[in-house]
Amino acid sequence: MHFVTGGAFNGKRAWVKKVYKDAVWVSAYENGLLPAELAITTNLLVLEGIEIWIRELTKQHDDANQCREIWNCCLNGWHRWEKADPNRLVVVIGTDITKGIVPMEKENRLWRDVTGWAYQDLAAKAEKVDFIWYGINQTIKSGGDC
């Protein structure tokens, strides 16, 4: 798994498109939902807009731990799919929303908290993590295994 993060409008999508050609894209910006189980006939899958999906998750479950458990089930599912064939790779793009002022609204605080934890869990599982800053990537983890 390759986790790509960074602030909004920093060029994450363009960077992933440049690095991974001919991938199948599933975008939360388009339909709001990401697949827990993958039934896709491709070896290269990009999941984009993870933070939107995590927000949906926190709307359905107001307990952070429960959200995180569901999230980890998904991560495990993607990981299993990936490991079933050595040619498979899942690239996950998540916008960093965690460095602003504490949100006024409870639901936005929950969203932000769960997103932070979800990214930690994702980064721990990913073999590679890149941070994109205005089009420039910084590999902050590589060669890791779970």
Binding site: G7, A8, G11, R112, Y134, G135, I136
Partner: protein
């Protein structure tokens, strides 16, 4: 002043609030001035809107005046590209900061934020910066890290963030050096350390 020896450079610096990005930018400019013997210019874009901002501007001015290096202040709140004839190829110019300039361009004339206007603003900011860069010895541009929090809740904030992100991407692409300042520590993101 041979054209061949004129090695124009663009240096892009961002950081969070009170990260030390302005101090670093000034220090960096002064180092280039000492090295090249060029004139230091401070391009002031801020229009003081309240006492707090006036105070902050005065503090920055005092800091520049009490330092060893002599700064020249040039004031311009919009269309900075029109300043091109004010500088020569020996000048070192510091623009602090892009967000202030963008605010001035966006809010000064009560425009409707349609796509045409936003594209024009982006073009005005980026081409203005590149014009000055090509004219001067070095142009140092400071901006703010504001895109690491949710932007989707408010359309104005979202549009602003999108525009600023695009401008930053263009500037980093054009920059010879780019720094992210974290807690006073400049992290070189692009280019080589001088």
């Amino acid at each position: 002043m041979s054209v061949l020896s004129h090695n124009a450079s663009l240096i892009f610096i961002t950081g969070g609030v009170r990260s030390g990005k302005s101090s670093f930018a000034e220090k960096h400019a002064e180092e280039i001035a000492i090295e090249t013997g060029g004139q230091l210019n401070y391009l002031a874009t801020g229009v003081p809107s309240d006492p707090e901002m006036t105070e902050r501007i005065e503090k920055h001015q005092r800091d520049r005046e009490t330092g060893e290096c002599q700064w020249k202040t040039v004031e311009r709140s919009v269309h900075i590209g029109e300043l091109v004839s004010s500088f020569n190829s020996e000048d070192i110019v510091l623009l602090d900061c892009v967000t202030t300039l963008l605010n001035n361009e966006l809010f000064s004339r009560g425009h409707v934020w349609d796509n045409l206007f936003l594209t024009n603003v982006q073009e005005s900011v980026v081409s203005g910066i590149l014009k000055l860069k090509n004219q001067a010895k070095a142009l140092i541009v400071v901006s703010n890290e504001v895109l690491n929090e949710p932007l989707a809740g408010n359309e104005l904030v979202f549009t602003y963030g999108k525009l600023l992100g695009r401008i930053h991407q263009e500037l980093v692409k054009e920059a010879d050096q780019a720094f992210l300042v974290e807690a006073g520590v400049p992290v070189l993101m692009k280019g080589v350390q001088r």
